[in-house]
Structures are given as structure tokens and as C-alpha cells.
């Protein structure tokens, strides 16, 4: 009796809502923490980065224009999708990170809980980060947090799902679109999250996931003029990427804050600007 030959999946890129191989036609083999072959993943090119940024740029205004309540519900839906595939996520986290099944399941559970936590922020961020300002004059003056636009995320190298949730979801909640460079050696959970986003009512282009070599893709993402925010949590050379980002005054999060409530709020703040409106008061 022969053992069944497994059906191996090639993990594709997520760009503009489509699952595509790299336009370069390249792929690379991903190994588990034990060194054994895990899967093939697409090896994205510079052009894939540009395509993903363009898709994010196109998708972002409509996402930001949705009601905060709807954004919260869509992200909660993403948590539902992740919960439904928690076993698969746990399996992949265990193999990628080399932790035992119980630890991997716990990590995935924390990540999903974190996602729910962020979803609940959507319609509260304006109240907590904004508000009315008492100016001396006949004005109603108020400040509101506004998304910066497109956020590039260099995903944490080590925490392939739990850490990724923080980096990916925080900018989304406030109305940004995201281009994620997945952990180079542990990319599978990121691609799975990209797949889930496509079934969670997140419009095409809001979540783009690229796999491949960070040294090749990172500089293109950091230097791209349409990237308005950059999360360097997983960068191996954050100084070089931050220097490239300076060209278009990109907002840079140099290192990921801890996965605490205060750390999460710092992430939310990192990729919003404030618009202050002065409206005259008069009869």
C-alpha cells in the first residue's frame, strides 16, 4: 500500500483582488522551520510592487469613504473567515515557526482576537483621536483623523500570523489600503490572510500581499511616491528603507510597538493624519 502523494499548493500573490503568479514568472521554494520543503511561493518582481501600489491607490478612496461602522463590520468578517480557517492557519504557523501545535493554535487565536479588537476601533478612532477644539472666535472647530492613503507593510519576519495581523489591520481600520511584503521565509500565513480578505468583503486592491525577496522588493515599496505610510517592523535594513521613504515625506513606523492596547493605539495613530475644520458660527 503506497502512501498518498500530496497535492502541493503554489501560493500566489494577491494584487488588486486577483491571485496571480509574479509577472516575472518566478517562484521560490519555502521551507518549514525544520528545513523541509513546505510550498512554492511566487517571487514577486519590482513591477508586481508597482502594480500592487497602483491597485491600493485605486481602492483606497472608496474604502475611506465607507462608514466607519461598515469598515468595522468588514474587518470583523475577516476575523470570521480566519476563525473558520484557524486549523489551517495553526498548521501553517506551526510548520513555519517551528512551534508545537498547541502554541501555534494559541498564537492564531490571539491574532484573531486582536483582529476583532481592531475591528471594534473603526467607529471609535474619530472620537478618541479627534474632537472639538475650543478656539477663541466664532467657529466650530473640530479635528478628525484621516487615513494617509496607501501603507506599505514589511511584515514581521518571525510572527507570521499574529504579528502580521497587527501590521496589516491597524492601517486598514482607519481607511488606508495596504501592500504587504510577507515574511520572506514564512510567507504562507500572509498569503492565507490575503485569500481570506478576498472573501471577507474587502474590496479588490485594499489588501495586496507580495511574497519574494525583501532586499529586492523593499526598496521599491519604500521609494514609491504613492506609498504614504511605511511600517518597517519586519525590515532587515530599516535605515536604508526609511531613507528612501524620505523622498516623498512618507510617514514611517520604524519598529512595531508591542501587541498591547497602547501599542495598538500607537499603530492606529501612525498612519492617520489630522484634518482640522474651522466652520463659522453665525445666525
Amino acid at each position: 500500500m503506497s502512501e498518498r502523494l500530496d497535492v502541493r499548493k503554489t501560493y500566489k500573490l494577491v494584487i488588486g483582488g486577483a491571485f496571480v503568479r509574479s509577472e516575472s514568472g518566478r517562484a521560490y521554494a519555502v521551507a518549514g522551520a525544520d528545513g523541509a520543503f513546505l510550498a512554492n511561493a511566487a517571487r514577486a518582481s519590482r513591477k508586481d510592487v508597482r502594480d500592487a501600489v497602483r491597485a491600493a491607490q485605486a481602492a483606497q478612496p472608496a474604502w475611506a469613504a465607507h462608514s466607519a461602522l461598515l469598515r468595522g463590520q468588514v474587518l470583523y468578517r475577516l476575523a470570521e473567515m480566519a476563525e473558520a480557517r484557524a486549523v489551517e492557519l495553526g498548521d501553517q504557523v506551526a510548520r513555519a515557526e517551528g512551534v508545537d501545535a498547541g502554541a501555534a493554535r494559541a498564537s492564531v487565536a490571539r491574532g484573531i482576537d486582536r483582529l476583532v479588537w481592531y475591528a471594534g476601533w473603526a467607529d471609535k478612532v474619530g472620537q478618541v483621536l479627534g474632537g472639538a477644539n475650543d478656539v477663541a472666535g466664532p467657529f466650530f472647530n473640530f479635528s478628525i483623523p484621516v487615513p494617509v492613503g496607501v501603507v506599505g507593510v514589511v511584515a514581521p519576519a518571525d510572527s507570521s500570523f499574529e504579528g502580521l495581523v497587527d501590521a496589516l489591520v491597524a492601517p486598514l481600520v482607519t481607511g488606508n489600503a495596504v501592500v504587504v511584503l510577507a515574511s520572506e521565509h514564512r510567507p504562507v500565513p500572509a498569503v492565507l490572510l490575503g485569500e481570506m480578505s478576498a472573501t471577507a468583503d474587502l474590496e479588490a486592491g485594499l489588501v495586496n500581499v507580495l511574497t519574494g525577496r525583501l532586499d529586492e522588493l523593499g526598496p521599491v515599496l519604500a521609494a514609491h511616491e504613492a506609498v504614504d505610510g511605511l511600517d518597517l517592523t519586519g525590515a532587515t535594513d530599516p535605515a536604508a528603507l526609511a531613507a528612501l521613504a524620505a523622498h516623498s515625506l512618507t510617514r514611517v513606523l520604524h519598529a512595531g510597538p508591542p501587541a498591547t492596547p497602547e501599542g495598538g493605539l500607537r499603530r492606529l495613530r501612525a498612519f492617520v493624519d489630522t484634518t482640522t475644520v474651522w466652520h463659522t458660527v453665525g445666525a
Binding site: A136, S143, T276
Partner: protein
């Protein structure tokens, strides 16, 4: 080709007078209240010291181009001494109870109020802006910022940045020449309230009000080293930004220099806030209150000679009212009184420097060369000093340099639109995003437009309003971080 009659030509031809402007006798503010020393040193560790290399430079009165006095040019060693003084002062200042820090800031605010006439005259002499503005805006707002942030110093745990927010340490602050004292207040007040110590570098052409502020800090008995003021040029600023003893940098100035600073600090991941250039749009709908809108357009671009990062340097006017708005606008432009900044009737003062005047002239020439139609006020200009008459360009295309580049002078570029969507698209067609104005009597439309403008500040039926409680700062290439209000604390807290 220009088809508009040029105001100056008309005036010379005797065909128009000042278009009904009432004539005023001069009402100059006396400069006697200001007594300037022959030279000023650096303010380090609580006293004025000679710069290490004994180098100095002149600061001019731009209204006459005559030197006012000489100020020290700080070397790298001087910057080092200032940073070291700030480092030594930092632990005790941070450890001081917030209520005690607050009382120093309240004192500073009060002394600014008490010396407001002197400060207004000094600022006008060194900057060239009208006394009416320094007296009514710059100085009162500077006092207001210290008063506002004084009140925060003992309430930081309630500001939304954690229950025990800590200061960054030593902050390096670089300010521009357009609102010298006010920018010093915007930088110092929140930094001190949150328990940081400061090294401030004023602009090369306008150092005097910061040095007067140093005197005020002494009067307030602020502990030595808590604020250090180093005068100099761009090299001094670069020495400050690159100093390893600095924990945070705050810069207000041009987008190009902001870019360089961000690049330079990238490797260290140092906290940075940047308040940079702008190309603000004033959007006037066909239901706008026109009398107020005309005043708002004038104030938006000619306030402070247009040396305002958030200036309303683009006018987007609904095409149905464009002729009427332009007719009234030209009439109002002709009424602006340009001249002696110390005259209390002056509306538009001197351009701050020869270099800035050259920049304005270069862009205006480009506007004419690219085919826009120029209208310049027929007002007489003084013979000495740096001056540029209020100018309005029509027939401006979105691709023209005068529609895209920050002129930082009294030059307005007018374009038209048909629909709110087009107005928003044109307003957002810039790499900047500092401020915009919306003029309409329809509140729902105003808020609809405000939601879609990519700008840090939106004024509805107003322009160029500032308040200590109101966050100010840009989006996109106008920089990041906010000054003013609760938001202004974040830059100075290790959150």
C-alpha cells in the same frame, strides 16, 4: 499674451486713482521702544555667550535693507555646548512637577503680554511684516500658546497618550523667518510643558525676536539650560539636526529641507515632525457670501506678504461668478496699502529678504512666460528695501509653475471650476496638503468638500485663522505631526 490692462500702467496713464481708497496720513509706530545692542551672542545654559569662533552676521531691516545689528554664527562646537547644556538640564526639568513647569510657562506668557509692544516693533523691524499683524496676531498668539500649553503641563496623563507619558529628552527645533516669535512659541511651549529641554535655532534673517525671548526666559527665571538659542544659517541647523545628543527634531520650513532632514535622520529612527510648504486652495462657490469671500481671498494670500506656508495661493472660483469675483478682487487689491511696516495703516509690508524677492520675481516671470495674465496693483513702492506689489494671475493652467510651486509671496493664481467634484480634484492636484478654504453658505456642501480635501486644515468661510487650541500641520508633502491643541503634545512625548 496679456490682454488685461495692467494696474500700474493705468495708474501711470492717470486713468484710475486708487479706486476709491481713502487716503490716510501716515501713522507710524515709534521704533524707540526697541533698543538694540551692537551685537548678540548665543543663549546657552542661561546666559549669552560669545560664539566659539567669534563669527557673526548682520540682520537687516527688509523695509530699508539697512543693518539692524549683528548676531552670532554658531559653530558645531557652539551647538554641542547648547545640546550639552540642554542634556544637563533635562533630568531636573523632567522631574519637576507638572504644576511647577506650568507656572514657568504662565510667567513667560504674561511677560510676553507685558512686553507686547516692544516685541511687535522688534518683529516688524527684523521681519518686514506690518505692525498691525505683529501687534494683533503674532505676539498675542505667541503669548496664547504659552498660556495654553502651561495648562497641559500638569494634565498630561489625561491627554490620551498613556497614563504616564514621558518627555523625549532634548529636542532640536528649527524655525522659519515668516513668523519668528510665533514659531518659537509653537515649538517651545509644548516641548517645555511636556518636560523636554530645547535647543532652538531661529532663522538666519529673523533672529532678533528669539533673542528677545531669551531675555524673557531669564526674566521668568527659567532654569539655565532648559532653553538654549543658537543663531546661525543652514549649517548651524544641520549641526543641530545631526547632533547625537538630540532625542527629537521639529522643523518648520521648506519641503526640500524637510526631505533632507528626514533622510538624514532615517538611520537613527529619531522622532521627527515636519511642517513644510503648501499650495493652499481657496474654493469659492457661487453661493458664497461674496463680501466675506473677497476679504478672505485677500487675507489668504496677502497676509504677511504671502510668506505663509498655508497661504491661499490658488483661488478656485466657480465660473458663474468668476467675472464678478475678479472685478471685486482687483478693486480690493488696488486698495491694499503697501509700504512702511511700522505704519499702522499698512496692509502689506516688505518682502523678507533679497533672496526671497528674487524667488518671487523668478516665478512671476515664469507665470508671464507660460501665458498667464498678470494684474499687479498700481500702488507705489518704497525705493529702498525689498518690495513686491500684490499680484493676481488669471488664465492660469493647472500645469503652470505658478499653479504648482510655492511662491511664498503676494501672488495669487486664479482658476475656475464648474462642479464641486472638479473643485475638489483641482484643489487636491498638488503634492502638498496643508490648508484650504471653502466659501459657501451651504453647510452640507462645505462639509462634503472638507471631507474630500487632502489638507491638514480647512477653513470654512474664513482663511488664515490660528489658535493655540487648534491643531495645525499638513498631509502628504506638507509634512507630518501637529502643532497646537492636544494633538501638539504627541510630538514631544515618548508615546
Amino acid at each position: 499674451m496679456s490682454s488685461e490692462p495692467n494696474g500700474q500702467e493705468l495708474a501711470r496713464a492717470g486713468r484710475v486713482s486708487r479706486l476709491g481708497a481713502l487716503e490716510y496720513a501716515p501713522a507710524p509706530e515709534s521704533a524707540a521702544i526697541v533698543s538694540l545692542a551692537d551685537a548678540y551672542g548665543l543663549y546657552i545654559d542661561g546666559h549669552f555667550t560669545d560664539p566659539e569662533r567669534h563669527e557673526s552676521f548682520s540682520t537687516l531691516n527688509p523695509a530699508t535693507a539697512a543693518p539692524l545689528t549683528r548676531v552670532a554664527r554658531a559653530s558645531a562646537a557652539d551647538v554641542d555646548a547648547a545640546v550639552e547644556a540642554a542634556r544637563r538640564a533635562a533630568p531636573a526639568w523632567a522631574a519637576l512637577p507638572g504644576a511647577e513647569r506650568a507656572k514657568y510657562l504662565f510667567r513667560i506668557s504674561r511677560i510676553i503680554q507685558e512686553r507686547q509692544r516692544e516685541l511687535a516693533v522688534l518683529e516688524t523691524l527684523d521681519n518686514g511684516k506690518p505692525i498691525r499683524e505683529t501687534r494683533d496676531i503674532d505676539v498675542p498668539l505667541a503669548a496664547g500658546h504659552f498660556f495654553y500649553y502651561a495648562g497641559w503641563a500638569d494634565k498630561l496623563a489625561f491627554a490620551g497618550f498613556g497614563s504616564d507619558p514621558r518627555p523625549r529628552g532634548v529636542v532640536g527645533q528649527i524655525i522659519p523667518w515668516n513668523f519668528p516669535l510665533l514659531m518659537a512659541a509653537w515649538k517651545l511651549a509644548p516641548a517645555l510643558a511636556t518636560g523636554n529641554t530645547c535647543v532652538l535655532k531661529p532663522a538666519e534673517t529673523t533672529p532678533l525676536s528669539a533673542l528677545a525671548l531669551a531675555d524673557i526666559l531669564e526674566q521668568a527665571e527659567l532654569p539655565p539650560g532648559v532653553v538654549n538659542i543658537v543663531t546661525g544659517d543652514g549649517a548651524t541647523g544641520a549641526d543641530l539636526v545631526g547632533h547625537p545628543g538630540i532625542d527629537k527634531v521639529a522643523f518648520t520650513g521648506s519641503t526640500e529641507v524637510g526631505r533632507q532632514i528626514q533622510r538624514r535622520l532615517a538611520a537613527r529612527g529619531l522622532p521627527l515632525t515636519l511642517e513644510l510648504g503648501g499650495k493652499g486652495a481657496n474654493i469659492v462657490f457661487d453661493d458664497a457670501p461674496l463680501d466675506e469671500a473677497i476679504e478672505g481671498i485677500i487675507d489668504g494670500i496677502f497676509f504677511n506678504q504671502g510668506h505663509v506656508c498655508c497661504a491661499g495661493s490658488r483661488l478656485l472660483v466657480h465660473e458663474g461668478i468668476a467675472d464678478e469675483v475678479l472685478r471685486r478682487l482687483r478693486r480690493r487689491v488696488d486698495q491694499l496699502r503697501v509700504g512702511d511696516p511700522l505704519d499702522k495703516n499698512t496692509d502689506v509690508g516688505a518682502i523678507n529678504s533679497a533672496a526671497q524677492l528674487a524667488r518671487i520675481e523668478e516665478l512671476v516671470a515664469a507665470g508671464e512666460a507660460e501665458g498667464a495674465t498678470r494684474y499687479t496693483s498700481a500702488c507705489p513702492l518704497p525705493a529702498a528695501g525689498y518690495w513686491f506689489a500684490p499680484t493676481v494671475f488669471t488664465d492660469v493652467a493647472p500645469a503652470h509653475r505658478i499653479a504648482r510651486e510655492e511662491i511664498f509671496g503676494p501672488v495669487l493664481s486664479v482658476m475656475t471650476f464648474r462642479t464641486p467634484e472638479e473643485a475638489v480634484a483641482k484643489a487636491n492636484d498638488t503634492t502638498y496638503g496643508l490648508a484650504c478654504g471653502v466659501w459657501s453658505e451651504k453647510g452640507s456642501r462645505t462639509l462634503w468638500v472638507a471631507q474630500r480635501l487632502r489638507a491638514g486644515v480647512v477653513w470654512a468661510n474664513a482663511y488664515n485663522r490660528f489658535d493655540p487650541a487648534s491643531p495645525f500641520g499638513g498631509v502628504r508633502e506638507s509634512g507630518f505631526g501637529r502643532e497646537g491643541g492636544r494633538h501638539g503634545l504627541e510630538a514631544y512625548l515618548g508615546v
